[in-house]
């Protein structure tokens, strides 16, 4: 077992242990913080697939995060008002079933990623960054003007969606759901990046021309990765909306895209657990420094600068070195 694998296991066990301790210590706020960290980690894992393996600097992943959130918000708001989403040509009702909402969130973000990716992946470099950013802002302003679902003010949901056999209003049980998703997503992406698909994606980042000469279409490869990445981030958005029971256009904003990128860069681009560590550190800084100063982002910025300048491979790179990393 490599040092990095041991580190991954310890990190994930710690993320699970803290809320369990908080549950017994009756500190529900700590459980909520851990849940937020786990959700952000899922979003970061989604971005890390295209950023770390594919070298695609997407500044539009908030699009998928927001779509997942709005999928949850729209379905749950209709369930709470008993108003159907549509009556013609087919009757579509709202729902407060988490599994149904997850499926809708995954589909919505997957379709959006397919369309956005199909256009944006025809470009590269700074043009790709700008196009993904532009799509994110398009969705942001659409959500701002979408008064049916709260417009600029956002939309509160007065219920917590259901999961069979669990009391989702109990913070520890909701954390459990998110944690299981984190494990599923983490194992899935870790397996994916070791598969021929993941290796070819990594190779395409190193040289598009060389990948083509072995018979691989890099465009299809990147588009597939982009869709998977968007779906994972969309799932995180749905969980985030359920945690807060609130959705707002800020889920689509470029700041959200930037924060997801910060989780990845802080933890370590292309490192399996980089987004998990990045999200945990981000939430910890937000909590502890945020209590000291409203300007805690200055300290976060300073930390990010230090990491980028001196810790290639992020915090994990600093802790473990550049051992067996596909950077």
């Amino acid at each position: 077992m490599s040092r990095e694998s041991i580190f991954d296991c310890v990190l994930i066990l710690c993320l699970a242990a803290v809320p369990i301790w908080a549950h017994f210590a009756e500190e529900p706020f700590i459980i909520t913080l851990a849940t937020r960290a786990a959700i952000f980690a899922i979003a970061g894992i989604g971005l890390n697939l295209v950023l770390g393996q594919g070298g695609l600097v997407s500044l539009g992943h908030a699009t998928f995060f927001g779509l997942g959130g709005y999928a949850m918000g729209i379905l749950a708001s209709h369930a709470q008002t008993y108003m159907p989403l549509s009556e013609w040509p087919i009757l579509i009702e709202g729902t407060k079933s988490m599994p149904v909402i997850w499926v809708v969130a995954l589909l919505a973000s997957g379709i959006a990623a397919l369309l956005i990716g199909a256009l944006s992946l025809r470009t590269s470099g700074v043009y790709f960054i700008m196009i993904t950013l532009a799509f994110g802002q398009m969705f942001y302003y659409f959500a701002v003007s979408w008064s049916a679902y709260g417009g600029d003010d956002g939309l509160s949901i007065y219920l917590r969606n259901d999961f069979p056999g669990l009391n989702t209003l109990d913070p520890i049980q909701f954390f459990l759901i998110v944690f299981v998703w984190l494990l599923v997503v983490w194992i899935f992406t870790a397996t994916l990046i070791r598969s021929p698909f993941g290796l070819a994606l990594n190779a395409s980042r190193q040289s598009t021309e060389r990948v083509e000469t072995v018979g691989i279409n890099p465009y299809h490869l990147r588009l597939t990765a982009f869709v998977i990445s968007g779906m994972i981030t969309g799932l995180a958005g749905a969980l985030f909306a359920d945690l807060n029971r609130f959705i707002s256009p800020s889920m689509f904003s470029w700041q959200t895209s930037g924060e997801i990128m910060v989780f990845v860069i802080l933890g370590g681009v292309a490192r399996r657990s980089g987004p998990i560590l990045g999200a945990v550190v981000f939430i910890a800084l937000e909590h502890f420094l945020g209590g000291l100063s409203d300007y805690w982002h200055i300290y976060l910025g300073a930390l990010l600068l230090l990491v980028v300048l001196f810790a290639r491979g992020g915090l994990i790179g600093m802790l473990l070195g550049r051992e067996r990393v596909h950077e």
């Binding site: 021929p196 990594n202 190779a203 190193q206 040289s207 021309e209 060389r210 000469t213 072995v214 691989i216």
Partner: protein
């Protein structure tokens, strides 16, 4: 039916014409040596066959299929494996990962590549950028073989390697010639080795094919005239 056929192919780097009139054909199981002095268009011909450069005029056929409008990856899928000049492995993947990333269904797999180059098996967990030049060259050949090609193109595969390693590469090429039905298109500076492995020779001069024939017909006078050796 030729596996590879070039008919009056011309090609450009932007506005600069590099190939003017290249014509030759290669049959299944045959080894063709593409020769010429530096800058005569050997690598450009290979890039054009692999569609890393567009075909300006003329026609290229692979197994009777015109590939003029096909992208590079589709040409590779028709069974063209390339060992590019300067090795060009994927540096941040391990040896095994380099091979897996390129794998396509067929008889060539990790085991058969390891049999051809036992050194790759020994180094399978090592990052490609930590290999020696010779090992990287073996990896580049192994990676091309993992695509299970019908035609393997080697562009200066032994350039800059130590004599012992070069010998190992040439042995592997002889083994490929004798033990498989693979066609080889080889560009190299070593005339003596090329003469031993090739069935026929095409010589390029200033972007045009000026001489072609069997290796046996390659006289000293032809070598002197076109290669200056």
């Amino acid at each position: 039916m030729s596996l590879l056929s070039l008919k009056q192919v011309a090609s450009w780097y932007g506005s600069t014409q590099a190939l003017f009139d290249v014509s030759f054909s290669l049959e299944e199981g045959e080894v063709l040596a593409l020769m010429g002095r530096n800058g005569m268009g050997k690598s450009t011909t290979i890039k054009t066959i692999c569609k890393m450069l567009p075909v300006g005029s003329g026609e290229i056929y692979i197994a009777s299929k015109n590939i003029n409008t096909l992208p590079s990856f589709k040409v590779a899928r028709l069974g063209v494996g390339l060992v590019p000049e300067g090795r060009r492995c994927f540096p941040n993947l391990t040896v095994e990962e380099n091979l897996i990333a390129a794998a396509r269904p067929g008889s060539w797999d990790l085991l058969s590549v390891s049999t051809l180059f036992p050194r790759l098996h020994e180094r399978r967990s090592q990052m490609a950028n930590t290999l020696s030049g010779g090992e990287q060259q073996m990896l580049a050949i192994g990676r091309a073989l993992m695509t299970n090609p019908r035609l393997l193109i080697l562009d200066e595969a032994t350039e800059g390697l130590a004599p012992l390693v070069r010998q190992e590469i040439w042995s592997a090429l002889h083994s490929l010639k004798n033990n498989s039905n693979l066609s080889l298109l080889v560009v190299d500076k070593s005339l003596s080795e090329l003469k031993q492995v090739a069935d026929k020779v095409v010589i390029l001069e200033r972007g045009s094919s000026v001489w072609s024939g069997t290796t046996a017909a390659l006289s000293d006078a032809v070598v002197q005239q076109y290669l200056g050796i």
